[in-house]
């Protein structure tokens, strides 16, 4: 036994050093291939210094525009989340094995959600810009569909864990499927659903800040403009506003989570 353990440990050691070497080799290879040679790095540090010195003090020439853009980002995030939540609620019921009409439909929706999840929000934004043009609309759609990818999965998992006794009880009282789901199933998973939806709103507010970079509305566009005109002081101001936005979103969603946990019972009365 002891001998076995020793040899096992040695094998593990050899394996580890091989992996370390391979990782290092790959790192050097990538640097060379991407033409990241030391003098370039040194030069970029110079440049970084220049940018930094130009960043301070942060300014904005159009405070109203900046404020409006921040609000637009938040609106995009909220509308995208609401749309995503509504569609996900519907799809998750059809995806949950214990509630669906057919197992094939369940597989299909799960596969669809998996695919949608695998494509980043920014790519969706680009696709929707092609489809509907620039502005907040493609942003909303991109966040909605990206949310669906995640929410269908987590909602579906919560639904698959419910106590089927409730479903049987309401069905045996003559309730229709829709009644069973809205009166029996959803109240049972409300806490989990609320927590996931708020978490998603949080994620979407982060995303909405960068969606503007590709032209899907909001504050990201301001950042883009400032950077392109080499107005680093303005860029810093936009970054500070984005930071404030994301921070307050986190605080608010944390607060709402606590509140809903405490007030679910009363709200349902």
């Amino acid at each position: 036994m002891i001998k076995n353990k020793e040899t096992f440990r040695q094998q593990k050691k050899v394996q580890n050093s091989i992996f370390t070497f391979l990782a290092f080799a790959f790192f050097v290879f990538s640097m060379l291939q991407l033409n990241i040679v030391p003098e370039r790095i040194v030069r970029s540090i110079d440049r970084l210094g220049y940018i930094f010195s130009n960043m301070f003090p942060p300014v904005t020439n159009e405070p109203l525009n900046l404020f409006g853009a921040a609000i637009e980002s938040i609106q995009v995030a909220i509308l995208g989340t609401i749309l995503g939540v509504l569609i996900s609620l519907f799809l998750a019921v059809l995806a949950a094995k214990n509630l669906t009409f057919s197992p094939y439909l369940s597989y299909f929706i799960k596969a669809f959600a998996g695919f949608v999840r695998a494509v980043p929000a920014l790519i969706w934004a680009l696709l929707f810009i092609v489809a509907v043009g620039l502005g907040p609309t493609p942003g909303i759609l991109a966040l909605a569909i990206n949310s669906i990818g995640m929410l269908v999965k987590v909602y579906g998992e919560a639904l698959e864990e419910i106590d089927m006794g409730i479903v049987e009880a309401l069905e045996s009282a003559g309730a229709t499927k829709l009644q069973v789901i809205l009166q029996g199933v959803f109240p049972s998973v409300l806490t989990a659903f609320t927590a996931w939806s708020l978490f998603r709103l949080d994620v979407n507010i982060r995303y909405s800040a960068i969606l503007g970079v590709v032209g899907a509305g909001g504050i990201g566009w301001e950042l883009m403009k400032a950077a392109q005109m080499s107005r680093y002081d303005e860029a810093l101001m936009v970054t500070i506003v984005i930071f404030g936005m994301v921070m307050s979103a986190e605080v608010i969603s944390e607060f709402m989570k606590k509140r809903t946990n405490a007030a679910t019972a009363q709200a349902l009365n």
């Binding site: 006794g165 003559g174 029996g184």
Partner: protein, 255 residues
């Protein structure tokens, strides 16, 4: 007491895995009867009860309820039949996060339009009726508490109230007291019996406590290996019969 409300003919149930849970069961139930079904674990008691309102699909036979064959009923018809049969479960099966009174209101879903029921748009009258029923099972003080704040015995009384609110003509109860202590069991059985007497419900209860069965039943049905082994009034259920119902095949075999 003469009218037959439920007529079961040659009921069979084979589960997909090949288990023959019910073998050719025939039973006739009169209006207002309080029947207790007893039998060893795995005999088919739950399967039998759940076949009656098709929570478990029968494999063959007829179940005539008020003269209508439940086995042949389509979805819409089945829904109408089900609202006329209250069901009580061992695990209470309440929506735990909802207030007690809302759980009782759920008994009315079968009478409401799909959307009205789904959105929970219960009228003032319906709420008052639900509160009345809660009072009758002694839970008026618990009406606005969340269901999971109640004790097991209280939760089962809420389930009884929900069933009463269906204004059914029959109640099925599958081991309603199996997870309760003796005191709570007695209280629940008393309320169930009282409700059934007051409202004239026909009642079929699965129990595994023979003493409770003898105390509450008008008629006892013993099921063994998926078949009706005994069917008669309480005084005919002798110690020997009880022994035979609960005897495993091994014990019954000569050593």
């Amino acid at each position: 007491m003469m009218e037959t409300i439920l007529e079961i003919k040659h009921l069979n149930k084979t589960y997909p895995d090949g288990t023959e849970a019910l073998k050719d069961i025939s039973l006739s139930v009169k209006k207002g009867e309080f029947i207790v079904i007893i039998g060893p674990s795995g005999a088919g008691k739950s399967t039998f009860l759940r076949s009656i309102n098709r929570l478990s699909e029968p494999s063959g036979g007829e179940i005539l309820f008020h003269g209508e064959d439940i086995v042949k009923a389509n979805r819409a018809k089945l829904r109408k039949i089900r609202r006329n049969i209250g069901m009580i479960f061992q695990g209470f099966n309440l929506v735990k996060r909802l207030p007690t009174v809302r759980n009782v209101l759920h008994g009315k879903l079968g009478y409401m339009s799909t959307w009205k029921g789904a959105l929970g748009l219960f009228g003032q009258e319906e709420v008052e009726e639900a509160l009345d029923i809660l009072e009758r099972v002694g839970l008026e003080k618990q009406a606005f508490k969340r269901a999971d704040e109640l004790s097991g015995g209280q939760q089962q009384r809420v389930a009884i109230a929900r069933a009463i609110n269906q204004s059914p003509s029959m109640i099925l109860a599958d081991e309603p007291i199996a997870s309760l202590d003796p005191n709570a069991s007695r209280v629940v059985m008393d309320y169930l019996q009282k409700a059934c007497r007051d409202e004239g419900f026909t009642t079929i209860v699965n129990l595994h406590q023979v003493d409770f069965a003898k105390e509450y039943a008008d008629r006892i049905v013993g099921i063994k290996n998926g078949e009706v082994y005994f069917d008669g009034p309480v005084h005919e259920l002798t110690e020997d019969v009880i022994k035979a119902i609960y005897a495993t095949d091994k014990e019954a075999m000569p050593v």
